[in-house]
């Protein structure tokens, strides 16, 4: 009988202690501010006092045309910003990685570095550099086009409503193309030689080898890149702010959620900042990103096949 009573297992303190630093730091710098933002969005400043108003701020954001028009415009622009990245940045990233991983390519280390360098540049530098490149007055773009006789194709892209957002998306693609390239490149290198050799024995070479063997093997990496792009794009702000200013001109055509949030939260010129509405927008941005990530995790990632080597 006595043998059945096991000595009570002592509480394993070391687990709590080892977890504590990370949990504390993460709570202090991530979870608390997030909770603070959510809380702020439920209050409103009435006569210098914070008053609890439930979901009134959200009703204002979606119901009051003064806010909702700007919000939907920013969301639409943000979706377009994301689409351009998915259609241009990621396919080109995969292509570059495929080219770089080709054993026949010389100077591949040089290309790899050169393509990755813009990613580590500051947004401010990228924004100003491209503003200058595309400047109709002193920019190199009009001169280069003139050089090949295509001057007529030049328009002041950043100043035209119909082109500005696309132009800025492409600048952002230029800056961040290195990230998908590096991740895919790493994934391609990690494909074992046996798999490739087996494919070659079966007569699958060249392009069909890429489509049938390599691409399925790097799909999980492409998924991760897509979700990184999604999160990055819906949090984007810096490039638009440095290139177009906080009013995201012309006529709000480059306004994305980040700049919209900035104007609401901090104010701009004579516009006084409204932290409560700003927090409301931040909460919606958080929900959009959370939603996107959940869709990816539960619908897409579970269906991706994993290959064990």
């Amino acid at each position: 009988m006595a043998a059945d009573i096991r000595p009570k297992r002592p509480f394993r303190w070391h687990i709590a202690i080892f977890l504590a630093p990370a949990v504390l730091v993460y709570t202090a710098i991530m979870i608390l501010p997030l909770a603070g933002t959510l809380q702020l969005s439920l209050f409103r400043n009435i006569d210098q006092h914070q008053v609890f108003v439930g979901f009134d701020n959200f009703r204002t954001l979606f119901g009051d045309p003064n806010w909702s028009v700007n919000f939907w415009n920013a969301l639409r622009n943000n979706v377009w910003f994301f689409i351009i990245h998915m259609l241009v940045q990621n396919p080109i990233g995969v292509l570059l990685a495929a080219l770089l991983s080709s054993p026949k390519l010389r100077f591949s280390a040089f290309y790899r570095t050169a393509i990755f360098v813009p990613t580590i540049l500051s947004f401010v530098i990228v924004g100003f550099a491209w503003k200058l490149i595309l400047s109709p007055l002193w920019g190199v773009a009009p001169h280069l086009l003139d050089f090949v006789g295509l001057k007529s194709l030049f328009t002041p892209w950043l100043g035209k409503e119909q082109y500005a957002l696309t132009a800025l998306s492409l600048v952002s693609v230029w800056q961040f193309i290195g990230i998908p390239m590096m991740l895919i490149y790493a994934a391609l290198l990690s494909i074992p030689d046996e798999v490739i050799e087996a494919a070659e024995c079966d007569g699958i070479t060249g392009m069909s080898q890429f489509w049938k063997i390599k691409l399925p093997l790097i799909l999980p990496s492409i998924g991760i890149i897509s979700i990184l792009t999604f999160v990055g794009n819906f949090n984007a702000f810096d490039l638009i702010y440095t290139a177009q200013g906080a009013l995201a001109g012309p006529n709000y055509s480059t306004d994305i959620l980040g700049t919209f949030l900035y104007r609401a939260f901090f104010g701009f010129q004579l516009q006084v900042g409204d932290p409560n509405m700003g927090a409301t927008i931040a909460t919606i941005m958080f929900l959009i990103i959370l939603g996107g990530v959940c869709v990816y995790l539960f619908l897409i990632q579970t269906r991706l096949r994993r290959y064990q080597f």
């Binding site: 950043l158 001109g249 006529n251 516009q271």
Partner: protein, 419 residues
Amino acid sequence: MKTKLLTALLLGTSILGTAGVAYAEDVTLNIESWRGDDLSIWKDKLIPAFEAKNPGIKVVFAPSAPTEYDAALGAKLAAGSAGDLITCRPFDKSLELFKKGNLADLSSLPGMENFSPVAKSAWQTDDGKSTFCVPMASVIHGFIYNKDAFDKLGIKVPQTRDEFFAALDKIKADGTYIPMAMGTKDLWEAATMGYQNIGPNYWKGEDGRAALIKGEQKLTDKDWVAPYEELAKWKPYLGDGFEAQTYPDSQNLFTLGRAAIYPAGSWEIGLFNTQAQFKMGAFPPPVEKAGDTCYISDHTDIGMGLNAASKHADAAKTFLSWVASADFATIYANALPGFFSLNSAPVKMEDPLAQEFVSWRGKCKSTIRSTYQILSRGTPNLENETWVESANVINGTDTPEAAAKKLQTGLDSWYHPAK
């Protein structure tokens, strides 16, 4: 622990500070400001001039960075450690400080009578009863032109709108110069140097501005749409690709001598004097017919108030009365050409371009930018929307009527003047 240490330190410094004052038997006044650029002017010119006349009062100019000024000042005022004299931003930011009781009422300060009601409007309560800052300087809008270019093409300085557009046509036909250096990329150029520059002539300065605030006029009225109609006509005279031309681009185009006319604010004078290699002149916004009353935007920009918690209120008031005097105005306006004293007494200035600008005060009526007082408190913000719509009108993406209608609809959504 940390707080205690900090408190002890603060206590220590305050005791030391007061001890120092008691020892010297002098009163020391501290000035809070965001104008770090002016440090040498204050230290070398303004403060010695004051101290020479007022022995026993020492003044220290202690600026902080422009972007941090409002936040830093707010924190210092709350903690009771702010300086005795506070440099005032125009309109709502200072009004808020006054309402919180941080700024003292200066309506009866000796010297206040030297300023016109327009000059004081930036630092008054909405009903105009209390004034809480002494106006220091304003900026004036107009057009700066390349004199060499005008002489070469034989163009006379335009007085009327017809002459103005005739001059632009002539410059354009000649082709040597871009007729007008302005871009719409940064938006505010279109609104500030465009709409607010030429607008007062249409809406009759203060009359129109006051009527707009009272709700008697609307932005969709003829007088408020007409400036947009004129702006829309500017488009063909701007440089190639003006849609992506930024404010520094415009400045450079003009100072490099590639453009003939620059819609300006007087704050450019200092920079242009050092950069431009040609002779410059200036003219006020042209009127419709020769002999019409002209109106100029003489926008109040900087003032100085008294910290309500100051221990040396009397000494500070002596200083403020001096700031309101012609002495101060002369030194300040000459040290910073383009920032004009708001004092009614005429100020002698050395810089010819600044003289030209300030001479318009004699023949034209002054007003301030229409969107600054009261009308930009709500959402959507009228000033920001004016930036966007002015750029739209020049770009041709909105008609003047559509732009005015958008602005008025936005204003109507939150501003309901008592009638």
